[in-house]
Symmetry: C2
Subunit: 255 residues, 2 copies
């Protein structure tokens, strides 16, 4: 930690830390310009700039979840201290975009060599839901038999699950982890339309999601599609139980 360094010292500290790919946090008063996919200006104010080990940059204001300005990883730095300020330029190629940071006050600079190999696990993603529903299709409907989830509909994007119901109808399932909105219905509609052209059978459309929005429900009904509520909890439990037997070589089929 360096408290109130001169701009010259700050320049040295930053260059050395960048060289070694250390984590840098600079707190101070600054203004920021961005030019690239868009353009932005940020007037003087107290913020902190984070330069990470992968050469990404984040400018954070004292409040708000999102960085006000940033640069993705892999950018090239130019640190230019002068008598009055510290100027940091971070340039990214492809697409070409430039972030310019001007500090006229530096409160402190924190340089750390952080080692983080810790594993991160997240449950339950939409693909987890898909796994669960393929493992136990009765979560959607009794007697439902998934068909190869390969591409069947070539042109209309890819639906989540294709299946056959107990009456031999073709079924397309659109999975949403989040509250299903109109967009999900439109997606499903496109899949069903394309499928009807290719398959000479009745084609049912089903949205499987924890919740569906009211408007989407109406739209769904107007298209004669169906909604099946699938709690995330159930998917989580199913996946948990599915894994354990495998590890123990129990091959008891889940039901």
């Amino acid at each position: 930690v360096h408290e109130k360094p001169s701009f010259q010292d700050a320049g040295k500290i930053l260059r050395e830390a960048l060289e070694k790919h250390l984590l840098i946090i600079v707190t101070g008063n600054c203004r920021v310009n961005y030019e690239g996919r868009a353009s932005s200006t940020l007037d003087w104010g107290n913020r902190f700039a984070i330069i990470k080990t992968d050469a990404s940059v984040l400018i954070h204001r004292p409040s708000g979840y999102e960085p006000v300005n940033w640069q993705p990883s892999g950018c090239v730095f130019n640190v230019m201290p002068s008598e009055r300020e510290l100027y940091i330029r971070a340039v990214r190629l492809q697409p070409k975009e430039t972030l310019k940071i001007y500090f006229n006050l530096i409160f402190n600079i924190l340089v750390s060599n952080l080692i983080d190999e810790g594993q991160f696990d997240l449950y339950v993603s939409e693909s987890d839901m898909k796994k669960a529903l393929l493992t136990d299709p009765s979560l959607i409907e009794d007697g439902l038999k998934p068909i190869s989830s390969e591409k069947i509909l070539e042109d209309a994007g890819f639906a989540d699950i294709f299946a056959e119901d107990s009456n031999g109808n073709f079924v397309i399932v659109e999975i949403k982890r989040n509250p299903a909105g109109k967009e999900a219905v439109y997606q499903l509609e496109r899949y069903v339309k394309t499928a009807k052209k290719k398959v000479n059978r009745t084609v049912r459309g089903i949205i499987a999601a924890p919740v569906i929005q009211r408007e989407a429900q109406l739209l769904l009904a107007s298209r004669n599609f169906e909604y099946k509520r699938v709690p995330l909890r159930k998917c989580y439990q199913l996946l948990k139980f599915k894994k354990t037997p495998k590890l123990l070589e129990f091959n008891e089929k889940p039901r």
Copy 2:
């Protein structure tokens, strides 16, 4: 800045800083659990936790643009130091979600009273494009006359611009700031379909964007819609010139 505080001291520092709504950055070794809209676990590793003045939380690893864990603004904190660790719990209601952070090493704690009133301006957003195109519709097509951009299509969402071309045809323009993809075509298609039912005229569909993706271009052609390239630069210049006269009370009409 507090270097290597004891867990007890760290607890005091954090509580006081939270009380005063100061910015807090804690660097150390920690593990993190999240439970709410999803669930996640993060194993031990060196990270820094940011607690902002609006009671939001960000856990950042030494690399990567995005926080590995976070909590949106307005959450409630519980700081619990023990002999072996510092446990911070951040709970958000609506939706209920809980973030639990356990530090078994604290490298340092940075507490700052940052004042940031600086204005942030971003150009060119999609609504900027709309403004520009309404100011000078010839950017899309000569003789195009925008119609009230109020809701005309009640049920099919809202198109960006409604207009009449020099032949009296109804025109719907879908604006995209980013490369226009298939989704833009589908959106346009829905608007045009609805419009055709309500308007007893020829309805043209136009996508106005800096670039259009190849696949989207094909889809567009199959629907007999059109694409008009609109460089962001032109919109930016138009808005710049439009503004200046206003400030100076020149009322010379652009174009």
